[in-house]
Symmetry: C2
Subunit: 148 residues, 2 copies
Amino acid sequence: MEERLNRVKQQLQQSSYKLTPQREATLRVLIENEKDHLSAEDVYLKVKDKAPEIGLATVYRTLELLAELKVVDKINFGDGVSRFDLRKEGAKHFHHHLVCMECGKVEEIEEDLLPKVEEKVEHDFNFRITDHRLTFHGVCSDCQSKGK
Amino acid sequence: MEERLNRVKQQLQQSSYKLTPQREATLRVLIENEKDHLSAEDVYLKVKDKAPEIGLATVYRTLELLAELKVVDKINFGDGVSRFDLRKEGAKHFHHHLVCMECGKVEEIEEDLLPKVEEKVEHDFNFRITDHRLTFHGVCSDCQSKGK
DNA sequence: GTTACTGCAAATAATTTGCAGAACT
DNA sequence: AGTTCTGCAAATTATTTGCAGTAAC
């Protein structure tokens, strides 16, 4: 946790940004809820528990900043809300998601499934890929067994 | 064009919906701009040219209805706007997109690149896939040559 | 001391909803 | 007649921005 914060701190300072208490609190929430896919509002509420004086606008600004630095990825599952997902340290690409259409659960796939596909796309379309978003919609295993 | 409208009309009627003049005008705009990725507002403006009395709320309601029937797919490229993309007739899955981070251009990939990946995911995660969203971020060939 | 950062409130933007009337079956 | 559909205006929701004060280097 602490090492991770420090690395982000260095990243911030390299771009002459500061790791303020508000930003630190926001980062801690993101790290503690790494497996979730929190909206800005969700993050705000959790940060407020620790630092009640923080404003929602600051959370938005911090999340935007972290997205710029590629510390988090911003993703949208189709409800009108942006969600923020901590990027695995050192990961070149954003991980993939499985969204269950029945219960809404979101699972993560860490393994990069796309290298071959990306090779083909870069070649066929002469497009230099820097990142991707891959989300599968379907029915999770729990809902499959329930649904019978 | 007309056959295509008729097929959607039948789809609507199967679910006891009607193909009203407003819905038809909206569909025509979508078909005429098949290669674009129009927002609800974009669609509204284009429909208004033909049928000035139509309301924005009706366009939203129509697009939502068409998404439900899988005539269009709703997609979000990260700006805060939903875009609506006509699904190729008979296509089982949503096609893929290349979004250029420099100029914002969006290209489509019709070929389904994911059957092998999906097989693996269904097996490894016991997840029944019904659809997917795959978008690549990067630099298109035009911007690559300009950028030199 | 200067520049970056924050909280608050107000502004903006996208989308949804309530409702009374119109249209289709 | 009964239901579905529409336009309008108002409401809601998510996000952004202006600004005056605060904190960090």
